[in-house]
Symmetry: C2
Subunit: 178 residues, 2 copies
């Protein structure tokens, strides 16, 4: 057996191993993707939003919910520097909504109970011209079922703030440190 | 002039430049440090907390404040997986407190106005044995003035939750996705 035959044989084995690794990783990746909820109004689930930094909070006393308003890095930078009318393209705002409860050990403190839904606004002034420069999406409950009743459900409610680039949230003031 | 004298001369110049660079960088670094507030109860200001992920929110109706509860990576991981009694060493909890206001365009929504203070609990069961395993710190107002009236001011208020590792917050439920 010549050197070249041995080298060729090793190369074939390496190729086989690489192909196998590729197939295994493809299966792993597609399984991971399957865990994400389906799209809402054609918009993909924004994986990783749970670790985004905060922009504000609110307590809606008319429907007894507490809200946390988060943003991706573009949105947080805009919020902290007051660049919010309009918000920059690429900004994503997330609103996490929970039913309220009294805190067991401090009755006057209203805090989150079960998750109602998570809503997102995706700013892209070119892509979303028909919905005022924003893509509107919502995933409902613990299982994050995609909401697909149409973005007009969202924009109808947001009409009072059309002069604020369609956003209710006033970013909370953070100390000017760091 | 010998080779060694020339080399020595160059080396002296290089040393002078290095010393100058060292002095300049020292001044720059100390200026950067000067922007951070001084310690509270001997604890250094936790630089970068503004970008930490969220653990919960609350509305204290007894003193008209809204709160955002954040955590460093160790605290958020513990909160999301229910490992909170006790919290793990290294966890830092932050509570950002604002006076409340009505949202201009949705009167029933209570949201943050000016910053009151930012409070932190630093878990270290060996270092902070005299204060129940936690270091207690607070920085007040926009200027983040360090609070130094003693950690007993903090622990007195937290005594109702001594059986919950001294923490009031129930971590808000996040969807089990990602």
């Amino acid at each position: 057996m010549s050197f070249y035959q041995i080298a060729g044989g090793k190369s074939m084995k390496l190729n086989t191993i690489l192909v196998a690794l590729f197939l295994v990783s493809t299966v792993l990746i597609s399984n991971a993707s399957e865990k994400l909820p389906g799209p809402s109004h054609g918009i993909s689930y924004p994986s990783g939003w749970q670790d985004w930094a905060s922009i504000s909070v609110s307590h809606r006393t008319d429907n007894n919910t507490l809200r946390m308003i988060l943003g991706n890095a573009i949105a947080v930078k805009a919020a902290r520097s007051g660049q919010t009318n309009p918000w920059p393209d690429g900004a994503i705002l997330g609103k996490v909504v929970w039913k309220e409860k009294q805190l067991e050990n401090w009755k006057a403190a209203i805090s989150p109970e079960q998750l109602v839904h998570v809503e997102f606004m995706f700013k892209d002034s070119e892509k979303y011209t028909s919905t005022y420069g924003w893509g509107w999406a919502r995933w409902v409950g613990d299982k994050q079922e995609p909401f697909n009743n149409g973005p007009e459900v969202c924009t109808a409610c947001h009409t009072p703030v059309k002069d604020r680039d369609w956003v209710f949230t006033d970013p909370a003031p953070f100390p000017a440190i760091d």
